[in-house]
């Protein structure tokens, strides 16, 4: 394939959605990119980082999404084009700044890409960003394919400069993580120098005037959207049913119509610009028909706005109907698929649809019932989190006061999954919240609260959002143990660097922001533990829990097991001594596989004994201390 930076206009390439977004920014002459990692958005910045030197860009992983917005805005007010990207959860973090940038205004084109994750494939929620963007009152574009994503990003920069505020492009998993054929455009050469024109102000006062200005900008955008190339109709002149779709709903709708052979009866409006609503465009489309089905990801956002248009124009008063999530024809939760649209069309048109023979269906259902078992995800073999949570679990048991973990967002959340975790995490909300909730619980002593709480967070999360919560706990004299699970990685999202690892987004050396130094500066007692020292750590944790004396920080430090090079020799040979393991007669009821649950310890059904799966075991040796009969043995391999 050609490089992402190749000036090969007109050439067709197969691009990953987020790669196409990066290409669109390059075609628009972007100079600065800032982001915080989060699936499904991370590859946008990764792709720009890979070409940053060649294309002369400044690209950074910011400490969190709010700072990313500020870094991007800085470039914009200095006259440069900038792109900011994050997942839907990141929009919440960024909001405090975003809801003032819209008022303060921008100069160089500023584009925010927010990647939603319908069904929450890799997220703690499937929240729809669009209501927030409507509230921010900035232009909103929704691409349906990698091609459209590239084209919209490029155009959004122009629009942002034309109106003097930022534009938002809402992608979603099925656009960002879809690979598709893309026709490349020309790469703009821009050699603008950064300069902040001090005759201009980028502030939010006078407040009422700024609000009125924003409304005027939105009115201007509405006129532009009325004629946008991203909004169009395909189908018969007067369809008996018309689909209005946005985002990934567009291709599913096209497919469903073709699949059910409804081309002569059903037409499709593709709406690429969803806020502000292009009222006149929609009124013209509505006049074609008396029945409309809205197809969009997650919330009935477009549906509600369309109902306003249809109500104001009198279309609804003529007995015409809008179907969608409110009418129950589409689900108001979960992800769209061709099937969801096919089912709605079958209900609304009465066409018959039998995807496959009844007999085949019966066989398939039987196979599913008899054979198909699930694949649970859990901590990897050798994962430091397993050792840490094992330690905490045992410390709680020894303490005996019904202790629990106040959790956070990261791989350690696997504690909450039944198959592999220990289920000691009883509350988990957002990044950094573990510590904030811990701080609050640690102040409930006056109401009789005496349960020990361990607030956990990962190293990347510590920098992102946990520092203010830690300061809060210190300042307010809360009694809480904050445990930082430092595995030297933003492991869950794909090992992007963060301020603690000494490397920047381009893979170059960067200063290390030292967690210990920060805690010392806050005058908070701190100790560092190796999570694999289970016996020692358990004792110490019990002591710490009994000592209700302010905030304590424990750093559990050991690199993620996946960071180990595949050809590196394991530290230990681990095996089960078959004479010591009494198996099913032991009375431990398979303690190692039932309670400790490392994927490398397996139960040999034929011999009724535990066994180490050498293909899976990474030789961490942690399990040797958990067997009540001391039957798991280890021997150092490295000299």
């Amino acid at each position: 394939m050609v490089a992402l930076t190749a000036n090969a206009a007109g050439k067709t390439e197969l691009l990953f959605g987020n790669e196409a977004i990066a290409r669109g920014a390059l075609e628009a002459g972007v100079r600065v990119a800032a982001s915080y990692p989060g699936t499904p958005s991370s590859e946008i910045l990764e792709n720009l980082a890979a070409v940053a030197e060649e294309a002369g860009l400044y690209v950074e992983w910011s400490v969190n999404e709010k700072v990313a917005v500020e870094v991007g805005t800085a470039a914009s007010v200095a006259g440069l084009r900038a792109i900011i990207s994050f997942k839907h959860e990141g929009l919440n973090v960024a909001l405090d700044t975003l809801c003032h940038v819209n008022l303060a205004g921008t100069k160089g084109g500023l584009v925010v890409v927010v990647c939603d994750d319908p069904a929450g494939w890799s997220s703690p929620s499937e929240n729809d960003s669009r209501a927030i963007i409507q509230w921010l009152n900035v232009p909103l574009l929704e691409p349906s394919t990698p091609q459209e994503a590239k084209d919209m990003i490029r155009w959004a920069f122009e629009l942002s400069e034309q109106i003097g505020t930022y534009c938002v492009v809402r992608s979603c998993t099925r656009v960002s993580h879809t690979t598709g054929t893309v026709i490349l455009g020309e790469i703009a050469s821009r050699d603008t120098l950064a300069y902040f024109d001090t005759s201009r102000l980028f502030v939010f006062v006078p407040i009422v005037k700024k609000h009125a200005d924003l409304l005027a900008k939105v009115a201007q955008v509405k006129e532009i959207f009325e004629k946008s190339q991203f909004n169009y109709y395909e189908g018969p002149e007067q369809p008996e049913l018309m689909i209005i779709s946005s985002g990934s709903g567009r291709l599913y709708s096209m497919e469903a119509v073709e699949y059910l052979q409804l081309e002569k009866r059903v037409g499709i409006v593709h709406l690429g610009t969803t806020w502000p609503v292009p009222t006149k465009f929609l009124e013209r489309q509505l006049s074609r028909t008396s029945r409309v089905l809205v197809v969009e990801e997650v919330d009935p956002f477009l549906e509600r706005n369309l109902k306003v248009v249809a109500g104001d124009s009198g279309w609804l008063n003529r007995g015409h109907v809008i179907y969608g999530k409110a009418s129950g024809h589409m689900k108001p939760f979960g992800e769209l698929s061709p099937e969801t649209v096919i089912n709605a069309l079958v209900r609304l048109t009465g066409v018959r649809h039998e995807p496959r023979s009844k007999e085949y269906d019966k066989r398939a259902k039987q196979a599913a019932k008899d054979l198909v078992i699930g694949r649970e995800v859990m901590w990897c073999p050798g994962c430091p989190h397993r050792a840490t949570f094992w330690t905490i679990k045992n410390a709680f048991r020894l303490d005996g006061r019904d202790g629990f973990v106040s959790g956070d967002i990261g791989c350690y959340g696997l504690d909450r999954r039944g198959a592999g975790g220990y289920l000691i995490t009883k509350i988990a909300l957002a990044m950094g919240s573990g510590t904030g909730v811990g701080s609050g619980l640690g102040k409930l002593g006056q109401f009789g609260f005496s349960q020990p709480v361990i607030a956990v967070c990962g190293d990347s999360t510590f920098y992102h959002a946990a520092i203010p919560a830690l300061i809060n706990a210190k300042y307010n004299r809360s009694h809480v143990i904050m445990m930082i699970l430092d595995n030297s990685a933003t492991a869950m999202t794909g090992f992007q660097p963060h301020p603690g690892v000494g490397v920047n987004a381009l893979g170059k050396a960067a200063p290390v922001v030292d967690i210990e130094g920060l805690c010392r500066g806050l005058d908070i007692p701190l100790e560092v533990m190796d999570p694999f020292d289970i016996t020692e750590n358990t004792k110490r944790l019990v002591e710490l829990m009994s000592d209700r004396n302010g905030v304590r920080v424990v750093i559990m430090r050991r690199p993620c097991a996946l960071l180990r090079p595949p050809d590196e020799k394991p530290p230990f040979k681990v095996w089960v001594d078959t004479l010591k393991c009494r198996g099913d007669e032991c009375g431990c009821a398979r303690y190692c596989v039932r309670v400790f649950k490392c994927p490398a310890i397996v139960w040999d059904r034929t011999r009724g004994r535990a066994q180490i799966d050498e293909a899976v075991c990474v030789g961490c040796g942690v399990c040797t201390c958990i067997c009540p009969a001391s039957a798991i043995m280890k021997e150092p391999l490295s000299e």
């Binding site: 598709g180 496959r356 066989r363 599913a368 995800v377």
Partner: protein
Amino acid sequence: MSEGKLFVDPLNIIVCGVGGQGNILVARLVGRSLAKRGYIVTIGETYGASQRGGDVMSHIRLSARQRYGPLIPPGGAHIVLGLEPLETVRILVDYGNPQVATITNTHPILPVTVGMGVTQYPDYDELRQAIAQLSGQVWFLDATEVALCLGSVRLTNVVMLGALIGSSLLPITEAQLEEGIKERFPKDRLKPILEAFSKGLSYTRATGCA
């Protein structure tokens, strides 16, 4: 312009397996090779927390006419390339139909709950029978064994890719796909990869479907 012909348009392929088996790489090599020949290609990837042993699948849509979405409708697969037999059944249950052509690795990867003794991996003969009953034509091969003989279990996906090309179900030649492999990997790593590709290829070419 596209050369050759798809036996159906759109042609829907699902590559499935377990996280870490390299399913996405196979999908992208196939996709890229066909895009190069002028087909309109869409690949949808579903992986969630796959890195930690979950099931994964890629949907490949090929068309000479128009762009399709990243998800294949239920019952709509034309080819299933299964890198693991249990995963092959999981996909056939949802996306199979009486005509589907299935090419599957026979070597199991046990879910962690099997090791724990909580669940049992299905009996191999029953799995094989179910795959055959849910497919129009089917090829079975132990691609993991072939890969291990070549020195690394990580080559399993390339053996399966070879098997897909050897089945002649796609309008691309051995040489065209080899070209894609050569573009994707550094020269010093190519030898075992090309060997794995060719082993898989000759397997389906020589045996025909079961």
